[in-house]
Amino acid sequence: MCLAVPTKIISVDGKYAYVETMGVGQKINVQLIESPMAGDFVLLHAGFAIEKIDQEEYTFLNTILNEMINDDENGTGN
């Protein structure tokens, strides 16, 4: 259980926010998030944001992931 995808808040309107996930827009419920703000990344599960994503960690990991994938593609993967 608990399929969730990272998404970015574009704008907030009360309990709801408009978010974008890889170019796809959606209105989601953000009432579980403390002070959601435009620019925040959140985890989206079944139409609700369930947690904020730590942006520093997120960027850091993305860098690592991309490196690992490039490594794999260069044939050094397992």
Partner: protein
């Protein structure tokens, strides 16, 4: 993966307890990258697969009321009750697949003369979002929306598995998104109380790889046994306090019934007295027979690592992916289902 003796190793069993981890393992093809002696097991982590037959029977019974509409996540459609699944029994426009609990609210407003019952299933990831919906509906309506809950808690089932003396699990991948809500610390007991290597990890292929290797390091003694949060970008130590508040506001715990496993103390989340008016159980007289007849399904043994699928006498006979009896066959990546489709080993 670091240095290790290459000869014949003792089998290492690593369990994950989140359906999305199950999927991620399958989709990433990570098994192929692991040494042969490392087995990834799927525990009871798909809340739909472990939903008890009696609950499905109850939902089906609701359909006998002509004015009832069921709203459900798509996952529930093909899971069988004692005899039928919702997808087999539904009439046209009697069962709607929704993406979000809020879609059930929309549905109820669209059919004001009907009673819409939302099948509220999930672990603690889903519990707060359903809880928020319940609170919203309690305060603002619509009045024709009820909730039939089969929400489950992760901790009791983990303890149930870990307490088993014959348990053959060597490491645990904790459910990342339950941890997003409850906090990484919520799973520290696995290591502290049961002395089992455990990591909270994310769902990308690289997350999974990192999680498994980290556990192997501990299991093989290259690192000390310790509880690690490898998913800090989405998991704070204390989780999401607002989400936890919604859980506490709306639900109380109760004994839960797990398909193929049986009763597990305090493992269910049910509506508090205050929200009884929204509980489908109190509005309709649903008798979910918690089938005391001994379950024929051996999933418990399989999940606990005691038996192989083919040792279950139902396997391939009365239990197939098309007609599954237990969680291991229901989930398309469950041990029984995988064994049925691909035989023992393919690569």
């Amino acid at each position: 993966m670091m240095k290790m003796e290459q000869e014949i190793k003792k089998t290492v069993r690593i369990m994950e307890v989140c359906g999305t981890h199950t999927q991620a393992i399958a989709k990433s093809g990570i098994r192929y990258l692991l040494p042969n002696h490392v087995k990834l097991l799927s525990g009871p982590g798909c809340p739909v697969c472990v939903t008890h037959e009696g609950y499905i029977d109850g939902a089906i019974a609701l359909l006998a009321h002509e004015d009832v509409i069921l709203a459900t996540f798509g996952d529930m459609l093909k899971v069988r009750g004692t005899n039928f699944s919702l997808s087999e029994i539904k009439r046209k426009d009697s069962v709607f697949t929704v993406y979000s609990p809020e879609d059930a609210v929309t549905l109820a407003r669209k059919y004001p003369k009907k009673t819409v019952v939302f099948l509220a299933v999930g672990f603690e990831t889903t519990a707060p979002i359903i809880g928020a919906t319940i609170k919203n509906v309690f305060e603002y309506g619509p009045e024709n929306l009820l909730f039939l809950t089969a929400l489950k808690r992760m901790e009791p089932i983990l303890r149930f598995i870990l307490m088993d003396e014959e348990s053959k699990i060597d490491g645990l991948i904790c459910p990342g998104h339950v941890a997003s809500v409850l906090g990484g610390e919520a799973f520290r007991f696995v290591t502290e109380e049961y002395n089992l290597p455990a990591v909270v990890c994310g769902f990308e292929a690289e997350d999974m790889k990192m999680g498994v290797y980290s556990l192997l390091d501990q299991i093989d003694g290259r690192c000390p046994i310790s509880f690690l949060n490898l998913y800090p970008r989405c998991v704070r130590n204390q989780g999401n306090p607002l989400a936890k508040e919604y859980i506490n506001e709306v639900y109380q715990t109760e004994d839960g019934y797990w398909r193929g496993i049986g009763k597990v103390s305090d493992s269910a989340l049910v509506l508090k007295q205050k929200y009884q008016s929204l509980d489908a159980r109190s509005r309709f007289s649903i008798s979910e027979e918690m089938t005391l007849k001994p379950s024929v399904c051996q999933c418990r043994e399989i999940i606990l690592g005691r038996k192989a699928p083919y040792e279950c006498i139902q396997f391939g006979l009365s239990c197939t992916p098309e007609n599954p009896l237990g969680p291991c066959m229901i989930s398309s990546e469950g041990a029984c289902s995988a064994h049925y489709k691909y035989g023992r080993v393919i690569f």
